[in-house]
Symmetry: C2
């Protein structure tokens, strides 16, 4: 069910604005946090941007290793998403203490989170100015994966798939909306 | 129905990942484009990030004026959203040719788009490095507004509101999902 996403379509995993899980690994320690502030930055090679606060342990590992991964969570893992967004890796080994299953990526050592529906393995594109001033990290996507039940042919297909595979879009305080009701827009004609 | 959003809650307008309309004005000319790649960057003072391609007329006006606005469209204006994302202001005056109604902001000259459900007036935070290399623009939010039928008490409330006021989340090729089915996540207990 987990299948590679062709790199030129990797941006589509984030195009509709889901909350993501950011993970990183360095020197035998790994961590994961939630981030609602992430977006695509370029198509091919695919790049993305994500905001990672200075106080986070994930950031320390990311800066030390130069790599990170995003996992795109769905309703089935909403509790994991909320939990890793609420506790700090400085205080506990979240992955172990909260029983969060992971699997290995192919291009980075950052752990990918089981039960999610999309994954992006990234290397940090160094931009010390915005990293320091705005906690903004840019990454190049080296590999991408998705659950083919909801992402195939280069795009999301939530209709007809199990409800709990829909992505999470954080509103406030652990409340998430999910995508529904696909709408096909039309061109508005110009005045003749 | 259009009410001011307190600045420390302005990030919530973008937190769930909607597609936005970017508008700008300079020297009597104005334009608007669609952008799926936008996100919050900070809480207070509120800041945001948005990707704006070099080829766009909106960017030319934004760079000349140092200001821009985001409007957060909903299903009622899906056709406008798709249209301003498909035609270029270099080729036509979109606002006039496509009969797009606007209203004036309070802190910038960039036009705000009628029929949307949220609005953010911004000044550009100069970051020439990422602007040039990655088409990435940072902005400080100077004023924010929302339709109180769907955004009040500092957050979105789509449940119970008219369907066409739900925001748009671009999947591919003019197809948009909208938020639905609010889910309240719980903390996953740590191992005792």
């Amino acid at each position: 069910m987990r299948e590679p996403v062709p790199l030129p379509k990797a941006y589509r995993l984030l195009n509709h604005g889901p909350t993501v899980l950011v993970s990183s690994q360095h020197d035998g320690r790994s961590n994961v946090m939630a981030a609602a502030w992430a977006m695509p930055l370029d198509f091919d090679p695919p790049k993305l941007a994500v905001v990672i606060d200075k106080s986070t342990f994930t950031r320390r590992l990311l800066e030390a290793s130069g790599h990170f991964a995003l996992s795109v969570p769905c309703r089935a893992v909403a509790d994991i998403t909320f939990t890793v967004g609420s506790v700090s890796g400085r205080d506990e080994d979240k992955l172990q203490a909260r029983h969060i299953a992971t699997f290995a990526g192919t291009t980075t050592a950052a752990p990918l989170i089981e039960g999610c529906v999309g994954w992006l393995e990234c290397r940090v594109i160094a931009q010390p100015g915005v990293q320091q001033a705005h906690d903004l990290f840019l990454g190049e996507v080296l590999a991408a994966w998705a659950d083919s039940r909801v992402f195939r042919d280069g795009r999301w297909h939530f209709d007809g798939a199990p409800d709990e595979l829909r992505t999470l879009h954080h509103v406030a305080g652990g409340a998430f909306y999910s995508p529904s009701d696909l709408l096909l827009a039309r061109l508005r004609p110009a005045t003749p």
